[in-house]
Amino acid sequence: MTTMTIAKAINEGLRATLANNPRTLLMGEDIGPLGGVYRVTDGLIREFGADRVVDTPLAESGIIGTAIGLALSGYRPVCEIQFDGFVFPGFNQITTQLAKMHSRSNGNLTVPVVIRIPYGGGIGSIEHHSESPEALFAHTAGLRIITPSNPHDAYWMIQQAVDCLDPVIVFEPKRRYWLKGDVDTDAPGRSADPFAAHVLRAGTEATVVAYGPLVPVALAAANAAAEDGHSIEVIDLRSISPIDFDTVTDSVRKTGRLIVAHEAPTFGGIGGEIAARVSERAFHSLEAPVIRVGGFHMPYPVAKVEEDYLPDIDRILEALERALSY
C-alpha cells in the first residue's frame, strides 16, 4: 500500500501497462518531455522512448483517427485529449468511427482505443477548460466511459481500460488530480469489474449517487447530514457507460430516496437517465421523486462565478432535505 495523488496513480498505471504490453503506446499533445499539461505522463518518455510515448501533431481528429488505425493493426493506443473542451474536433472520429467499427464489421474488428480526458471545473480556469461532456459520449452506443474518483481506482481503471477490447473513454476529474489516497498495487484490481459502482458509505434514509469530481462532495454532504442525525448512503458510480443500475437500485430499495449529483448540466444528463431507470425499476420503493443536482443549462460559466455553478455540499444537502420532506 502506497499513498499517491490521482495524477501519480494514473502515471503509475500507464507505466505498468507500457511495461506489460509492448503494443501499448501513448499519444497526445505535449505528453512527451513535458509530461502532459497535468504531468500525468511525466517521465514516461524517458523510460519508454518516443515511439511509445508519442508527442503528436496538434490535431484531435488526427489523434483519434490514427489511434483507430493503430488499433486495427493490433496496437493499444492510449490517447490524451488535453482538455475536455478540445475533444470536439475529434468528436466525429469518436462517435462515427471508433464507436461503430466493431458493429459495422459484424464483430470482425475490434478497436481497443483508450481516450483520457481531464474534465470538470473548479480550477479557476478559462473557457473550454472546465466542461463535463460525458453525456454526449454516453449516448453513443459502442463506447464505454469510466471516471475514477480516487487514486486506487485511478491506478487500476486505466489499466483495465487498456485491457478492454472495446473503446473506453476515461474522464479524469482534473480538480482531483492532486487528491491523495492509498493505492494497493498488489490488489487483484486488474480483474475487478471496472464498470461496477461502489457503495462508499452505507446509510438507510437516502442514497446519493455521484461520480468523478463530486464523489468527495457527496461524502462530505453525507457526513454533514449525519451530524443532523440522518443516515445517507453514498455510491461512487465509477462507470457512466455502462451504468451499474443494480447497485443503484438495490440501494434505493433500501433507502427509498435518491439524489444524483454531477457537474454537467442536469438537462439531458446522466442524472436524468438514472432517475428514469430507477423509477422504472423501483417505483414502489421510492418515497420521494429522484432529485438531480447538477450544472445549469448554460455554457460553463466564467471562473469567478463557477462556485455558484458547481454543485457543492449545500446543494446536495438542500436536495436531501427536499427528498426527506416527502
Binding site: G65, L72, T96, R104, F245
Partner: protein, 422 residues
C-alpha cells in the same frame, strides 16, 4: 519532364475575373500540374523517364488481366444500377469512368498491403478478391459492412467523407512499429509472429470533394511527421455530387503534397498503365520507408454520383462526351489489338465472363440474408455489456409475447419493477 507530361486543363476557363486570375498567378505561379500519361486516348504507348520502367514490367497477360477486370467491374456496375432501379438495392454508387484508376491502383497493391477505400472502390475491391455480392450487402441494407476486412486486407467502405484517411495513417504507423518490434526480437535472437517480410504499405482512397475535409489535412500531417508507409490515392473525378473541383481547390490537388513534404503526382486516371506504374512506384517507396506519396488520379465520373442523383442539373452533356472520348477501356482495347496481345475471341470471352458475373450478382443479391437484430445486440460491444443484456432480455420477452399471443396471451412488459419483482 517529357512531352508525355500533359498539362492539366482543369484550371482553364474558370469563371474568375482577370484581376483575381492575375493575383492568383502571381501568388501560385503556373497553376497546372504535369500529368503522367503512358497510354494515350488513341491507344498508343508513350514514354516517361521514370515510369516507363514500371510499364515495362507489364506483359501481355497482365495487360489482358487489366482489361478483363475493367470490363468486369463496368458490367457489375450496370448490373448493380439495374438492381437498384428494381428496388433490390437502396442505393448504388456507380464507378463507370473510373475503372482504370481503380484497377490500375488496386492491381499495383500486394496482398500484404492494407487498403482503406471510401465508398466507390468496387474496382479496387475486385482486385482484392472481395466477393462482389458481399459488397452489395451495405447497399441492400442488410449490413453496415458486409465482408471481413481481415480476409482480403480491404477495409470496409466509409461513408463519412475522409474519416478513413487517419485510420490509414494509423495502420501504417502500426506496420512501422511491427517492423521495429520484429527487428528488436530478431536482435534478441528470438522469432515471433510479428509481421516481418514482405514489407507492407497502406493505401487510402478519397475523392476530390473529400480532400477539403480536415481529416485529409490531419492525416497528411501525421503521415509526414512519422514518415508512415502510406499512399494517399485521390480520385479526382471532377465532381463532388454537384460541386466542381474548382470549389474544393484553387491548385491541382497533387500540388498539395509539397506542402506536407512528400511527393504528389498527377496521373491520367483513365490510363490504366500509367496509374499502375505510378501506384507501384509509390507503394514501393512507401514500403521501403522512403516517404508517403499522394497520387491524384485525374479522371471523370461519367454517370451520376449515385442512383439518387441527376447530373443534368449541374453539368453539360458536352463535358461528359469529352470524357467519354478518353474512355479507359477503349484505349486499352485499341492498344491490345494493335500489339496483337488480344483478339476477338479474348474480348468475347471477357464479355461472357462479365455476363456470368452479373448473373451471379443478380442471383446472390436476392439471396443476401437479412440479419436477425440479435446480431446487432451481439456486435455493439466486443465484451459483455449489462445494458445490452438487459435490452436484449426485454426484446426476447417482448417478442415471445407475440409468439404466445395466439395461445396464452402476451407478457410484453419490462417486468422488472418492484411490483413484479416482489
Amino acid at each position: 519532364m517529357g512531352a508525355t507530361h500533359l498539362p492539366s486543363t482543369e484550371f482553364d476557363g474558370l469563371d474568375v475575373d482577370d484581376q483575381l486570375e492575375a493575383q492568383a498567378e502571381a501568388v501560385l505561379g503556373a497553376p497546372d500540374a504535369p500529368m503522367v500519361q503512358l497510354l494515350s486516348p488513341e491507344g498508343t504507348l508513350g514514354t516517361d523517364p521514370v515510369f516507363s520502367e514500371y510499364a515495362a514490367r507489364l506483359d501481355a497477360a497482365k495487360l489482358r488481366g487489366f482489361y478483363a477486370d475493367m470490363a468486369k467491374i463496368r458490367r457489375f456496375d450496370v448490373e448493380a444500377t439495374a438492381l437498384q432501379r428494381q428496388g433490390q438495392l437502396a442505393l448504388w454508387v456507380p464507378l463507370t469512368g473510373q475503372e482504370a484508376a481503380q484497377i490500375g491502383s488496386g492491381r499495383a497493391s500486394q496482398p500484404q498491403d492494407y487498403i482503406f477505400p471510401t465508398y466507390r472502390e468496387h474496382g479496387v475491391a475486385l482486385t482484392r478478391k472481395v466477393d462482389l455480392a458481399e459488397l452489395l450487402r451495405q447497399f441492400r441494407g442488410v449490413s453496415n459492412g458486409g465482408w471481413n476486412p481481415k480476409d482480403t486486407n480491404f477495409h470496409l467502405y466509409t461513408l463519412v467523407l475522409a474519416a478513413q484517411t487517419p485510420h490509414a495513417v494509423g495502420y501504417a504507423m502500426g506496420i512501422q512499429r511491427d517492423q521495429k518490434l520484429a527487428a528488436a526480437r530478431a536482435a534478441a535472437g528470438g522469432t515471433g509472429p510479428e509481421r516481418q517480410a514482405p514489407k507492407a504499405a497502406v493505401m487510402v482512397y478519397f475523392g476530390d470533394g473529400a480532400s477539403s475535409e480536415g481529416d485529409v489535412h490531419e492525416s497528411m500531417v501525421f503521415a509526414s511527421s512519422y514518415n508512415a508507409p502510406v499512399v494517399f490515392f485521390c480520385q479526382n473525378n471532377h465532381w463532388a455530387i454537384s460541386v466542381p473541383t474548382a470549389v474544393q481547390t484553387r491548385i491541382p490537388l497533387s500540388n498539395r503534397a509539397k506542402g506536407y513534404g512528400f511527393p504528389g503526382i498527377r496521373v491520367d486516371g483513365n490510363d490504366v498503365i500509367a496509374v499502375h506504374a505510378v501506384t507501384e512506384w509509390a507503394l514501393e517507396r512507401a514500403r521501403e520507408g522512403k516517404s508517403p506519396v499522394l497520387i491524384e488520379a485525374f479522371t471523370y465520373r461519367v454517370g451520376a454520383h449515385t442512383t439518387a442523383d441527376d447530373p443534368t442539373k449541374y453539368r453539360g452533356s458536352e463535358e461528359e462526351a469529352q470524357w467519354r472520348a478518353k474512355d479507359p477501356l477503349e484505349r486499352l482495347e485499341k492498344y491490345l489489338r494493335a500489339e496483337g496481345f488480344a483478339d476477338d475471341a479474348f474480348f468475347e470471352q471477357v464479355r461472357a465472363d462479365g455476363d456470368e458475373l452479373a448473373a451471379y450478382v443478380r442471383k446472390t443479391t436476392h439471396d443476401l440474408e437479412t440479419p436477425d437484430i440479435r446480431t446487432a445486440f451481439a456486435n455493439t460491444y466486443a465484451e459483455a455489456h449489462p445494458l445490452i443484456a438487459e435490452e436484449l432480455a426485454w426484446f426476447e420477452d417482448y417478442s415471445a409475447g407475440f409468439a404466445d399471443e395466439a395461445g396464452a396471451g402476451g407478457s410484453g412488459n419490462q417486468a422488472d419493477t418492484d411490483g413484479a419483482a416482489s
